[in-house]
Amino acid sequence: MLFKKQQKTSTQGEENKPSRPKNSHYLTAKESREIAKSNAREMRKYEKRKRVKNVDESVYTCKMQDENNIVEFDDLHTYFFTDAGVSKAVDGVTFSIPKGATVGVVGESGCGKSVTSLSLMQLVQAPQGQIVGGSIRFNMGDKAYDITKMPTSEMRKIRGKNIAMIFQEPMTSLNPVFKIGYQLDEMSLLHNGCTKEEAKAHSIEMLKLVGIAAPERVYDCYPHELSGGMRQRVMIAIALSCDPRLIIADEPTTALDVTIQAQILDLLREIKDKIDGSIMLITHDLGVIAEMADYVVVMYAGRVIEAGTTAEIFHNPLHPYTIGLQKSKPVVKRKVERLYNIPGQVPNPIDMPDFCYFKDRCDRCIEKCNGEYPHFIQVSPTHRVSCYLYEGQEKGGSNE
């Protein structure tokens, strides 16, 4: 029942989204009803699965493919059941994050990079957003969990403790009615079960770690008393307070100024060495990626189109989209007369074509591009690309 109510309140978004390609810009009432019905059915199914209590651990325990990885995304599908149809925000994403490495995920807005990370945290906007397929294997050290199969109650024990997240907007992600100290203490009180005094001492230590000059003062501040850079430092302190194995940084510097961005990036790099964890860095800024990441994953329209080490992606980009993205960004002290622009726009996630998603914007199309979506081609042991142009250049084993 709940779902139906929510749909009614959010129907104003319906006409915003062009859904059918058949020249019709709007949905008929009948179509709309059908979509609502099937959505409610689907969402109920997935929600039920998540709400189960007392699940045996063996249900969601799995085995890592490579013990050196901290996270393995395997053919992940996360869909949103919207009023205009099913939006495939993440449509078959496969990549892994090695221990102690920084993996950068780049792509334009709406390409599914944030949804991928939210799936890992089980924080996708529910009930509309659901993980419908694939698996996310998370390495706990002695065992591994499949996060897609975990019930919410179990996930709460991992979320924040083993996987922490730094959100994009430090202005909105801190609670304005609680003091910084309270929000920091919450972490250690909840996950480490220590006393209030211990929690406070730990929190102040964390504030010191992120380079805040007067930790005792900031501990007693409300978020609005701090500047953007300071708030982001507090966010990082909260993320770090339980010694996570993986930090997801979702556009950590986008809302900040360049000089503050430099401070925060420096801090992230320092901290990564200190805690010996991995970072999944989501950003659309290629400059930030080049500076921070060891591996790069390029996403487009819900899929990974190219992945490799940072050097490979920047010196030898293969996919036309990656090349276009790099050429379209002006670089300081690299003069170009005219910026390259990728024509057109990202296809509508509700009506994805069955050929390569980039075909309509690509200037190097070949005949084969009209066929089904290209598979990954392993160009080097670490570099893979999903484009027909590189067929026959395969080296090493094929990817799953």
Binding site: P18, E108, A262, V288, K329, P330, R338, L339
Partner: protein, 375 residues
């Protein structure tokens, strides 16, 4: 009219005013042109320094202070100095980039130049006329020549008006073309901005960010302006869309001979589009030079730090980064002396006491810093 008031378009405030005064268009126009001519004649006598004939816009000692605190009687006791003594000039057909951190007064500068807000002090000469001395009628006549493109294409378009009406509104208001030719004219403008004709009757919510920004640009350019303030026009857009909009702006500049002020915090974009760059810090210009000069040889320590902080998309090229400690101070109680001294790595005793002069150090490279000879 109710739509009008809802509209958040730039030209709106003045449009509403213009409507009141447009009862007798021909007579009013004559009056305006006469007044303009008169003002033009008067200018040279008042100013000791002659105006640069090549400059389309010249800003002298512009100040914009907002009252920050008021006493019991409502009199302001302290001021937020958003723009504090800024002077520069822009030649015809060139682009001036203004860079700086958020809160340094870039946007206020742009708005004050256009007189969207009255200036506290100082002069803005547009084509030889001090626009701060014009009355409402004269200003309205000048409005079409000075336009602005706003940062956020999501909030700067009226959600209740179709695209054609948005673009045509100001054109009709200023009577640039006869009513019968309005639609044709709007379609032509849309075409030149890369908007297909069938968008004419659509509403802004049906478009993506890049398309909306094109609509904003079309709205500004439909008035055939000579001078456009671009207030972070690409900050809200994706990289690939950014390139499209930057190219469009450059094309239009070539085609129409436009003069831009390009306000942005993205240095790489500013370097690409500008001929001259001004760096702002806490309401003042700290450095002003041609793009080549300032990027090759940044003189002010703030400029140096700012430029070194830009991440370069090349994994092998790790530039030596100068990291500024702390945040930008509050503009209400700006530090005494050089405003930057609280964060400067080269701070000397004199910096804390005396504000440095904004001086030319050859080739039009202006810097305000005590590291360089002051006399």
């Amino acid at each position: 009219m109710s739509d009008e008031t809802l509209n958040t378009l730039p030209a709106d405030e003045e449009n509403a005013a213009a409507e009141n005064s447009s009862a007798l268009p021909s007579a009013v126009e004559e009056e305006e042109t006469a007044a303009l001519a008169q003002a033009e004649e008067e200018q040279p006598e008042e100013e000791a320094q002659p105006l640069d004939p090549n400059a389309l816009l010249e800003v002298r000692h512009l100040k914009k202070h907002f009252p920050a605190k008021k006493d019991f009687f409502g009199r302001p006791v302290s001021f937020l100095k958003a723009v504090d003594d800024v002077s520069f000039k822009i030649e015809k057909g060139t682009t001036l980039g203004i860079v700086g951190e958020s809160g340094c007064g870039k946007t206020t500068l742009g708005r004050t130049i256009l007189r969207l807000q009255p200036a506290t002090d100082g002069e803005v000469y547009f084509d030889g006329v001090d626009i701060n001395k014009l009355n409402t009628k004269q200003m309205n006549a000048l409005r079409p020549q000075m336009q602005i493109i706003f940062q956020d294409p999501y909030s700067s378009l009226s959600p209740r008006m179709p695209v054609g009406e948005i673009i045509g509104e100001a054109v009709a208001q200023h009577k640039l073309v006869p009513k019968t030719e309005l639609k044709e004219y709007v379609l032509e403008v849309m075409k030149s901005c890369g908007l297909p004709y069938h968008y004419y009757e659509r509403y802004p919510h049906e478009f993506s960010g890049g398309q909306r920004q094109r609509i904003c640009i079309a709205t500004a350019l439909a008035l055939k302006p000579r001078f456009v303030v671009c207030d972070e026009p690409v900050s809200a857009l994706d990289v690939s869309i950014q390139a499209q909009i930057i190219n469009l702006l450059k094309d239009m500049q070539e085609k129409m001979g436009l003069t831009y002020i390009f306000i942005s915090h993205d240095l790489s974009v500013v370097e690409h589009i500008s001929n001259k760059v001004g760096v702002m810090y806490l309401g003042s210009l700290v450095e002003y030079a041609s793009t080549g000069d300032i990027f090759d040889n940044p003189m002010h320590p703030y400029t140096e730090a700012l430029f070194s902080a830009v991440p370069i998309p090349d994994p092998d090229r790790h530039s030596k980064r100068i990291i500024l400690s702390g945040d930008i101070p509050s503009p209400i109680n700006a530090p005494a002396g050089c405003k930057f001294h609280t964060r400067c790595n080269h701070c000397m005793d004199i910096c804390r006491e005396v504000a440095p002069k904004f001086k030319d150090y050859g080739n039009g490279h202006m810097v305000a810093c005590h590291l360089y000879p002051q006399d």
